[in-house]
Amino acid sequence: MPKKLAKGKKAAEPKPAANAAIEEIPISVQVNGKPHSLSVEPRTLLVEFLRENLDLTGTHVGCDTTYCGACTVVMNGAAVKSCTMFAVQADGAEILTVEGLEKDGQLHPIQKAFGDSYGLQCGYCTPGLMLSAFQLLSRNRQPSEKDIRKAIAGNTCRCTGYQNIFKAIESAAQNMKGV
């Protein structure tokens, strides 16, 4: 196909054609311990990659504007909003989603605590909150009240009023002692 130049651009500038077909980029990621190698369009958001390419629909899209934290996953040990990263940026990374919390049919202590403390109602925000809690508790087994509040400040819950979420994370910290 002949290269077309965008309007107003001087033909003299040799530019890699902007309107050439967009190449897919091959990426390799470990998600919940499983390796995946796929090619993705560069604009594919990490959350869409997880939900649509890998069928891991536990990671939710709430606001889609980097506010609510429903899409939070843990990448190389750090909580990130997966609606605000491109999948190509996760190349070579290890990702943990809510589906990876459970092990051998056993709920993770964080999941168990959310259930036991009624830390959820509709559940839409819950996967993101549990992964924010995961980053916190993997670095700090004795979080103060302030530590917990700071750790979940990027996660919005429209149902619970946060009090029970707070209690769930406190009790998960207790249950994870010595784990």
Binding site: I22, P42, T66, T72, K81, T84, V88, A153, G154
Partner: protein, 297 residues
């Protein structure tokens, strides 16, 4: 929401990123933490045809103490600065890093990206303006070092040429007897502040030898409150001097009325923040360990 389709280029060195920018022209943009750029692309306010990803360039994320200064690699994440004992030697830097947005945004967002974005509500420019800060700009032909006050030109406008990037941010350690504090008022964590105040001063006993006061979110760029500084410089910090500084800071502010508050409200707010920041800065200058956090509505 999908951004418009773009070509993705992964730079393996900063030099290569600069070369890519020159070659690709105006339709190319750098991608650092992506915490400003990706939301804008999703809303299609930004539609670059090429993205040059800096995240895979090794050795761009560091905090080094060298020759009486702290040097920050352009891709140093806010969270790394928040958790760094080296950065905490200048306490106002910790105040700033720890108060930006939320854990997730701080894990991605970078100091270089923040300065390059020059968002009128961004925290770093306000805080770094109270210190002696230089921005290292790497271009195809040379590297230049630009004082922060010359780097930020206007809202969303910097001294960077299209094919230049921020490679490092250098902050001189303040002299002995210094103390600083940064306090913002926010509606919630994952939003920019409504108003903020950064104060860095040098005390000699109870006399303020020198002071820099910068106001955030109340103008197109961070505003230096020169009259407020003059109200304190060379003075004992009495209640009267504090009130004069507050008044002068309110007068220096040039806020816009928006959903975060009216002009009058923001003026009143910024005065109160300046007072609190001065008080904490003074205590720190006297060697006290004071933890401050932003104030949430």
């Amino acid at each position: 929401m999908y951004p418009r389709a773009f070509h993705y280029h992964r730079a393996s060195s900063l030099k290569e990123a600069v070369a890519m920018l020159s070659q690709l022209g105006d339709d190319a943009k750098l991608l650092a933490g992506g915490q400003s750029l990706i939301p804008l692309m999703k809303l299609r306010f930004a539609n670059p045809q090429h993205l040059v990803d800096l995240n895979f360039v090794p050795g761009t994320s560091y905090i080094k103490e060298e020759g009486g200064a702290l040097r920050f690699g352009a891709l140093t994440r806010h969270a790394e600065i928040e958790n760094s004992a080296t950065a905490a030697k200048i306490p106002i830097l910790h105040d700033c890093a720890a108060g930006i947005a939320d854990v997730q945004v701080r894990n991605r967002g970078t100091i270089g990206g923040s300065l390059a974005e020059a968002d009128p509500s961004g925290d770093w420019a306000v805080v770094l303006m109270t210190l002696s800060t230089e921005v290292c700009c790497l271009g195809a032909k040379k590297t230049r070092t630009v004082p922060l006050s010359d780097f930020i030109k206007d809202a969303y406008t910097t001294a960077l040429a299209h094919d230049e990037l921020v490679s490092e941010v250098v902050v001189k350690a303040p002299p002995k007897g210094s103390g600083g504090a940064y306090i913002a008022f926010k509606r919630s964590a994952p939003v920019y502040p409504t108003a903020s105040a950064a104060v860095q001063l040098i005390m000699d006993g109870d006399v303020c030898k020198d002071v820099v006061i910068a106001l955030g979110c109340v103008g197109l760029t961070a505003i230096k409150a020169k009259d407020a500084e003059a109200a304190l410089r060379g003075q004992r910090i009495t209640d009267k001097a504090l009130s004069a500084a507050m008044e002068a800071a309110r007068a220096a502010a040039d806020p816009q009325s928006d959903m975060r508050g009216s002009t009058d409200y923001k003026r009143a707010l910024v005065g109160a923040l300046v007072k609190r920041a001065i008080e904490v800065a003074m205590r720190r200058a006297h060697g006290e360990q004071v933890e401050v956090g932003h104030i949430y509505a």
